[in-house]
């Protein structure tokens, strides 16, 4: 007997939740309990009184699973709303990464040149290393980190994606 897997698509969800103890465990745990995937998850409180947090989840799965993920999130008591940004039209996705590279000579110059092209800022430098700060859509960061691998990547920290719908209305 073999186990077959279905084709998946990537979706970014914006989830507004009560900012209460255990909320992250509840959301992340629901994903593991039901076998859903999390590509990235970010959270921070966003309301003036700190009562509400916005969680951005990048996930992947076949369309019927994405539909279930949304319904399962929506029925959690502390969840106010769930929006599938991928589904609901144009939106902006951004991620920030800190990328450390070390090297001398050619590699160091090349790293600097690439950083310039990708509009990454230098936030720390020694004679043999840089830390670049780069923001952009996840694909841009992916490519940049890939290039840095060739010129002396030491480590990378990424925030995970945050996203918001275009236009005047809230998601």
């Amino acid at each position: 007997m073999h186990i077959y897997e279905e084709a998946v698509e990537r979706h970014v969800l914006a989830v507004l939740v009560d900012n209460e103890a255990g909320i992250l465990a509840r959301i992340a745990g629901m994903f593991t309990a039901r076998g859903y995937n999390i590509d990235s998850l970010t959270v921070a409180d966003i309301s003036e009184d700190h009562a509400v947090s916005r969680i951005t989840i990048a996930t992947n799965g076949p369309p019927h699973v994405i539909e279930q993920i949304i319904a399962q999130l929506d029925r959690l008591v502390p969840v106010h709303s769930v929006r599938d940004l991928t589904e609901s039209g144009p939106h902006v996705q951004r991620e920030l990464a800190l990328v450390k590279v070390s090297g001398k000579g050619e590699h160091r110059i090349e790293a600097m040149r690439l950083a310039d092209i990708y509009r990454a800022r230098v936030v720390d430098a020694t004679t043999e290393s840089f830390i670049f700060e780069i923001t952009g859509a996840p694909e841009k960061i992916e490519t940049f980190v890939g290039l840095m691998r060739e010129v002396g990547l030491v480590e990378v920290g990424r925030t995970g994606v945050v996203a918001i719908g275009r236009g005047p209305d809230p998601a």
Partner: protein, 581 residues
């Protein structure tokens, strides 16, 4: 405003919410609450013998009364023992509030004595849970917990209360709070959807109502509305295990249960229908069989209060989110508004009559052995006029009870459907008896399952509860043996019930009456004696050891591939089928 301790606030809030019965077991981390209960005789505390039984008793109480069941247990082992029943209540949508003690807030995280991460452990087997860190939050949390447990799709809610929060005092006046609440599920069906449903019904030539536990949860009125709807539509009705009793078994519209051990006519009708109206059921794998072969030619309407149940396994054409009782009322109103006249559906009914003619529930007769099916039918004949409450354990006896015990009204059939928890039946019967002191309450049991919470014989004795246990003793974990016959060439690996106790003596040692029935000729008299004996009675009914439960759709098969009797069973299964539960 007067100051009160957390424990007092808890107990007073429970009283405000109308709680009259709590199932529990004391321990270090709940001593302050037990002390507060001592002062409040209005709340009846039922001391069980194991915390799992407290949760099942609360389920039995809830399922038979419609009110939430309340449980009180200590931290650590008390809470972990309760987890099975909490999960059971989640799977079967039973309203329940479980109060667990916790070590003091300053000790949390230190691996203190009897510390367990109760909110962590129960996070995914509750509808919601809380750790209360301040006594001033307590009243509000308890009120919200009851609201969440009972509204929308019901379920279990855990409130974990550290010991110092039970002891500390805070200002409190009983009617101060009650600011509800962030949880407001949708109960009205969308008007457009209702109209679309009416349209689909008017065009159907072969419709069927597929009902589930949601109708029971919606309340007795929903069962009335279902009868009205079925009458108006003139169509057949089938139900899941959890929905039995919502529709009277004596109705000519009733096809019996559907699914794995459902009737031939119910499963064939589901397969051949052109419209399936799913009312408060959730297309569980025990119902659907092989997904791609499930009711392949029908349009499907799914009414459910839980949106996540819709399109989870089976794609439907029309989702309607709302309380099933309310949605049925809306639907009836729209149909009447459109002057819908009950169609004859003659061709559809004649096909159904054909399927009914298989008499799929027939079983081989025996003069020497008691056939378990016969025992259930006789039990029904002897008791049905008293409208008994029936609970079950899990196994063949459960399925035979579902097939052969006919129910006319809701809240009379209590069984562990979603989780399939052996050991459910006796404590559930205790809970049901407490909710209905004058009712005849019978646990239809297997000799293996009953041993999983047998200690509760003591609880029934203590509170003088006249619960009856009717064990179909086949000396096997019959359902396991049946699967081993179907799947593993009858290699009976660990499915024999060895070293059984003498159930009659066991019952007597707890001050119960014990009866043994061995001869088919004594069956009726034995049942009669059970009913007529005051107080709790355990019947050890020795039945045919190797009888199997048919009809059966083997897992992974289509509704049209039913096994009707042992003769249909051939060979072993392939790995694909073996991998399914």
């Amino acid at each position: 405003m007067a100051e009160k301790s957390g424990a007092d606030i808890l107990v007073e809030t429970l009283l405000d919410l109308g709680v009259d019965t709590v199932f529990g077991y004391p321990g270090g981390a709940v001593l302050p609450i037990y002390d507060a209960l001592y002062e409040h005789p209005k709340i009846k505390h039922i001391l069980v013998r194991h915390e799992q039984a407290a949760t099942h008793a609360a389920e039995g109480y809830a399922r038979s009364t419609g009110k939430p069941g309340v449980v009180l247990v200590t931290s650590g082992p008390g809470a972990t023992n309760a987890v099975t029943g909490i999960t059971d209540a989640l799977m079967d949508s039973i309203p329940m509030v479980v109060i667990t003690g916790q070590v003091a807030t300053n000790l949390i995280g230190t691996d203190a004595f009897q510390e367990a991460d109760t909110v962590g452990i129960t996070r995914h087997c509750t509808k919601h849970n809380y750790l209360v860190k301040k006594p001033s939050d307590l009243a509000q949390v308890v009120q919200e917990a009851f609201h969440i447990a009972t509204q929308g799709r019901p379920g279990p809610v855990v409130i974990d209360i550290p010991k110092n929060v039970q002891v500390a005092a805070t200002e409190y006046s009983s009617n101060a709070t009650r600011t509800n609440t962030r949880y407001q599920p949708q109960t009205e069906g969308d008007f457009k959807a209702i109209n679309a449903a009416a349209e689909m019904i008017m065009n159907a030539k072969a419709p069927i109502l597929y009902t589930g536990g949601g109708i029971i949860n919606s309340g007795p009125k929903a069962s009335e509305t279902l009868r009205e709807l079925a009458e108006l539509l003139g169509c057949p009705v089938t139900s899941t295990l959890m929905g039995l009793g919502a529709f009277p078994a004596s109705s000519d519209k009733w096809l019996g249960m559907l699914g794995m051990h459902g009737t031939f006519e119910a499963n064939m009708a589901m397969n051949k229908a052109d419209l399936v109206v799913c009312l408060g059921a959730r297309f569980d794998d025990r119902i659907t069989g092989r997904l791609d072969a499930f009711s392949p030619n029908s349009k499907k309407i799914h009414v459910d209060i839980d949106r996540s149940s819709i399109n989870k396994t089976i794609r439907v054409d029309l989702p309607v989110v709302g309380d099933v009782g309310r949605v049925m009322e809306q639907l009836i109103a729209v149909l009447k508004g459109r002057r819908f006249a009950t169609p004859e559906l003659a061709e559809w009914w004649s096909r159904i009559t054909g399927w009914r003619a298989t008499n799929c529930l027939e079983y081989p007769e025996s003069k020497t052995e008691i056939m378990p099916q016969e025992a259930i039918r006789k039990l029904w004949q002897a008791t049905h006029e008293r409208e008994p409450i029936i609970t079950t354990e899990v196994g063949q006896h459960q399925m035979w009870a579902a097939q052969h015990f006919d129910f006319e009204s809701p809240n009379k059939w209590l069984t562990s459907g979603g989780l399939g928890t052996m050991g459910y039946g006796l404590p559930a019967a205790i809970g049901a008896q407490l909710g209905h002191p004058d009712a005849l309450v019978i646990d239809i049991a297997g000799e293996a399952s009953i041993q999983m919470n047998i200690q509760e014989l003591g609880t029934a004795s203590q509170y003088r509860l006249p619960v009856k246990i009717f064990i179909l003793n086949n000396e096997y974990m019959g359902m396991v043996r049946q699967w081993q016959e179907l799947t593993y060439e009858s290699r009976y690996s660990n499915s024999y019930s060895d070293s059984l106790p003498d159930f009659v003596k066991l019952a007597e040692s707890y001050d119960w009456t014990g009866i043994r029935i061995e001869d088919p000729a004594d069956l009726e008299a034995g049942i009669q004696k059970m009913i007529e004996t005051d107080g709790p009675v355990l019947v050890d009914c020795r039945v045919a050891k190797l009888a199997n439960c048919f009809p059966m759709i083997p897992s992974g098969a289509a509704h049209t591939e039913m096994l009707l009797s042992a003769e249909d069973v051939k060979g072993t299964m392939d790995d694909q089928a073996k991998a399914l539960v």
